[in-house]
Symmetry: C2
Subunit: 333 residues, 2 copies
């Protein structure tokens, strides 16, 4: 962000010119001219609501393009809906713009929202735009629908369940390092692909129907595989054992891991790095095959990485032996 607003393009102009078109087709938004939005009850469905905030320099890099920042903000919230088995519906946005914001900054942010609204079938329904003497800060409240009572909770894992995780783990964390230029051992192509994973999560939305049928508990992996497994364990009153050898890795992550002097330390790095936005779920053994088939149809894998037993907390295993993990997951703070 460089230079002050040209043409005195301020918050109100942004709403008029950029945001109102994002609410078109959503009668709930009342044209963004009212104090509130109104959501009609949908018989047979519950509304699922999640809210996440991002701060420049904390959750994204100051030179990250603002269209990608907007898309990441939407996708981080969509990932929460995905883990709960819900379908996207709409969102509310609050943005605090720094004083040196340009019209191009606002436009870029809008374009990111527009692209992902179309991709995920969402509409802007309301929010607030303010100025700040500090860094760019935004929060997004996302709404989704789920059949009544069908939300896949975090606290319902049971002893005897299998632990599954979608996609690959650790790419987000490696991608942050690639974006910061601190992954010199990988090729440029690998670094670009990883940085893209950091900047643009891929929420696993299509899995909802299968999750609602087959999973006992589910959560999204945002703070690291081990940390989020630990939260399922704590909420459910069970133990999750994660087999680090079975952590699904991308080709780039495997390449990075091969270059590490200590393979276990490298695996722990990946399993505690955060920003994966994959789904971790627990499921009875006979639901594993149908869930994996559903994922395969969507173009990604569900990998069996552990088991649920009586007990407390999360336990990591490497080459058959329990291994202590001190860094339980990246805390954005």
């Amino acid at each position: 962000m460089s230079g002050p607003d040209d043409d005195r393009f301020d918050e109100f102009d942004w709403i008029e010119q950029d945001l109102k078109p994002l609410a078109e087709g959503a009668p709930e938004a009342l044209g963004l001219v009212d104090d509130a939005a109104v959501i009609p009850a949908r018989p047979g469905f519950d509304l699922v609501i999640s809210k996440d905030a991002i701060v420049e320099g904390v959750h994204f890099l100051p030179d990250d393009p603002l269209d990608l920042v907007a898309r990441k903000l939407l996708r981080v919230n969509l990932s929460d809906l995905a883990a709960k088995g819900a379908a996207p519906y709409g969102y509310f946005l609050a943005v605090a713009w720094p004083s040196d914001t340009t019209r191009a900054d606002r436009r870029a942010f809008t374009e990111g929202l527009k692209a992902d609204q179309a991709a995920f079938g969402l509409r802007l329904m309301g929010g607030d735009t303010v100025s700040t003497p500090g860094p760019f800060t935004a929060s997004l409240t996302i709404l989704g629908w789920i059949p009544t009572g069908a939300l896949v909770r975090r606290d319902a894992a049971r002893a005897g369940d299998v632990v599954l995780v979608s996609g690959t783990i650790g790419d987000g964390g490696l991608g942050l390092r690639a974006a910061q230029g601190t992954l010199p051992t990988l090729s440029d192509d690998e670094q670009l692909a990883l940085a893209d994973r950091y900047r643009l999560p891929r929420p696993r939305l299509g899995l909802g129907p299968a999750l609602r049928v087959g999973a006992h508990a589910s959560a999204d992996v945002s703070d690291g595989l081990i940390a989020d497994a630990g939260r399922i364990a704590a909420a459910s009153g069970v133990r999750l054992t994660i087999d680090l050898d079975r952590t699904p890795l991308s080709a780039s992550a495997k390449h990075w891991l091969d270059g590490q002097p200590d393979r276990l330390a490298g695996l722990i790095d990946l399993a505690t790095a955060g920003d994966d936005y994959e789904i971790i779920c627990t499921t009875p053994p006979d639901s594993v095959a149908p869930l994996r088939s559903a994922a395969a149809l969507l173009g990604f894998e569900l990998t069996e990485i552990g088991a649920v037993t009586d007990g407390v907390g999360v336990r990591a295993v490497y080459r058959g032996a329990e291994t202590p993990i001190t860094r339980a997951g990246y805390r954005h703070g």
Copy 2:
């Protein structure tokens, strides 16, 4: 806010110790341990949602007590529900805490939420807490219920309507100056009372049922009487004429106005100052009496301050003559 976190009391501790109790009794919140909250459909009701953000140094003063900041954030959002005729239900909160936040800061903010949750019958249902290198920033997404289709919109004013406003106008703006110590002509008691009006708005929630029956259009007065009247006019495609002589004023505001060299300029100051959080509504003439009776039962007045006609925009009248207003209302930005 002074000094860093003592005892390493961080965002996660804040959630555990302070926020989780605020979600007790709300099954929708899933104990704040899940990725999302789940809101069951309520047959016969629409959900009303509004979202507002505040930034330290922009929307409140850096030395404002954090319990009052929390209560103001809740009340600013409650005022939106009040204007729409909706009843409070729950809220989602995102807070970005500066690095020098103390445990006492977090506790004070929590205590403010707790007090107003109890006062207004609200429960915390979810949100996010992050750190920021910048100023304290927070956004709140509020949820309310309204009978299906009964939302009182901003865009439904009609020619022939009377314009009413609740309570008194200008106290919030004078209160800001009092809090900044720039109102030396008033007594200490008057300054304290006005500063309290700035720091602690009083959302006019009880009026909902009467508004839903009697009002055509309604909005809350947050950016100034003239600005918000202008938005009703623009949204509804009509003209609102506001009689500045009839602007309802508190005893302190009258006292302040009496000390102004130019009475009209003083009235315009009050009518464009913002932070009133009163309700402006338009209503057919035969609904004025029942609406005023409903307000009287709640302990405040509804004052007739103008009329709706065919035309465009807002028009201010003083002593029978139209008067131009260049400053259309305070823009927080």
